[in-house]
């Protein structure tokens, strides 16, 4: 085996020598560690850990990557995946911050696994956090009220069905700029009021305990709501900097704004586009807003002036 490897690498060297340009420098081993880590950061966690076998100098490189990408797809059994996650978090270099963490798991996730990963992320200064789970055993995102993080900038909690209740995240993440929720059940009446830095909010088929939603975010520039099965009747927007409002769904809620309409509004309505436009004109102030509306088959919309709001 070793002999075979040697021949192959000799061949490789000769191939390299035929092209005179590349000499011994073009080895990953000779590159700065920051670059090695950067390359490992783009790999799935399973493959990153496996690099420890490559050579002696690689034994603990994976424990220092700034990015962790967990995906159950690389495992035959969910239990093996959970064990893997547990071990990775245990063996990581705890002095190293994790900038980005993604976690994708099918099946039903136990609260213990989710909590373990979330706690790790928050205690290691995570900036970008993305979770996708099919179901949760407790039916709840294990973000406890005591959780808080000043480093978090992007948070994405997605689930495959609607059983996951989202606790009030308000006030936990004071630097959060992007929040993306999918398939979450929102109990709180004003779930989007405690994020002073929020610029982008995406609500993808979330259920609301009430039919009225309130968004209060001074810096919010982009709001997207996809609502196919969940119904919101009214949407109170206290968002003076909103530039784009996007709505995809069957019934456009009545928008109530305190600072005029956003600069652009995009509506994709499955049933009745006329109804949604009526919904808009009812609010008034539409003269400064570009409205594009379309149904499932293409753009049929009309523009209501394109002046940018200052």
């Amino acid at each position: 085996m070793a002999a075979k490897r040697k021949t192959r690498s000799d061949q490789q060297c000769q191939k390299q020598r035929k092209r005179p340009r590349r000499t011994e420098e073009c080895r990953l081993d000779s590159l700065p560690e920051s670059l090695q880590l950067h390359i490992l950061s783009f790999l799935d966690a399973k493959q990153a850990v496996q690099t420890s076998v490559l050579a002696k100098s690689w034994i603990s490189l994976w424990t220092r990557t700034p990015v962790l990408r967990f995906n159950y797809i690389a495992f035959r059994k969910l239990r093996a995946f959970d064990k893997f996650v547990y071990n990775v978090l245990r063996f990581r270099d705890h002095a190293v911050k994790v900038n980005t963490l993604t976690f994708i798991r099918g099946g039903t996730s136990s609260a213990k696994v989710l909590k373990n990963v979330l706690d790790y992320a928050f205690s290691h200064g995570v900036s970008h956090l993305e979770f996708f789970i099919q179901r949760s055993r407790s039916g709840l995102w294990p973000v406890c009220p005591r959780t808080s993080s000043d480093s978090l900038k992007t948070l994405s909690l997605k689930s495959g069905n609607y059983v996951i209740r989202c606790p009030s995240l308000s006030g936990m993440f004071k630097n959060l700029a992007v929040l993306h929720l999918k398939g979450a059940v929102l109990k709180n009446l004003e779930p989007f009021s405690g994020f002073p830095m929020l610029e982008k909010l995406v609500l993808d088929d979330c259920r609301h305990a009430t039919t009225t939603m309130t968004v209060e975010a001074t810096r919010l520039a982009y709001l997207s709501i996809t609502s196919h099965v969940c119904r919101i009747n009214r949407c109170h927007l206290n968002t003076p900097n909103l530039r784009l409002f996007e709505y995809v769904g069957s019934d456009l809620p009545k928008l109530i704004t305190h600072d005029g309409l956003p600069t652009y509004v995009y509506i994709e309505e499955r049933c009745c586009a006329r109804g949604c436009l009526n919904g808009f004109t009812g609010i008034g102030g539409g003269g400064s807003t570009g409205v594009v509306s379309c149904d499932g088959e293409g753009v049929i919309g009309k523009h209501m002036g394109n002046q940018r709001r200052k």
Binding site: E25, L28, L35, K46, V53, L54, F84, N87
Partner: protein
């Protein structure tokens, strides 16, 4: 802004000219220019001439900002050999050109992501310095990852 030209010197002492307003996409060069005006030749002791030629080609691109992401992707795709990409990544690191470094590293990761460990060793030219017994011991230690 006047079109001032800077001269960069590769490891093998070849000289390359580039307009200053394009060269300052490199944070390293931008800082040099700020400090002393960088009137003389800027030496890049770790970058060979072929790699520097690529970097210059990249810096000279005439892309609209919204097409830039696609351009840098295509740029590294067309130079899809791992040794070239590693040199490019190192040059981009030294010159602090983040987009180019990200794209080159991502491309390397993309190329090796479906490789077996043996293939990764070959592709990245990593010498296995463990005996088969030692390797087995490591695999056993990390059996939860295999």
């Amino acid at each position: 802004m006047s079109k001032k030209t800077l001269t960069l010197m590769s490891k093998d002492k070849q000289l390359f000219n580039i307009e200053e307003h394009l060269a300052v996409q490199s944070v390293t060069i931008r800082n040099m220019v700020k400090e002393d005006g960088a009137s003389s030749v800027i030496p890049l002791p770790r970058v060979d001439s072929e790699t520097l030629a690529l970097v210059i080609e990249y810096l000279n691109r005439q892309q609209a900002p919204e097409e830039d992401e696609d351009y840098v992707k295509k740029f590294v795709d067309e130079r899809g050999e791992i040794p070239t990409l590693l040199e490019l990544a190192q040059a981009a690191l030294d010159l602090d050109i983040k987009k180019l470094m990200d794209a080159a590293c991502m491309k390397v990761a993309d190329l090796i992501k479906d490789f077996t460990l043996e293939e990764v060793r070959e592709a990245l030219r990593i010498e296995n310095d463990r005996t088969p017994e030692e390797e087995k011991a490591i695999r056993d230690e990390f059996q939860w990852a295999f």
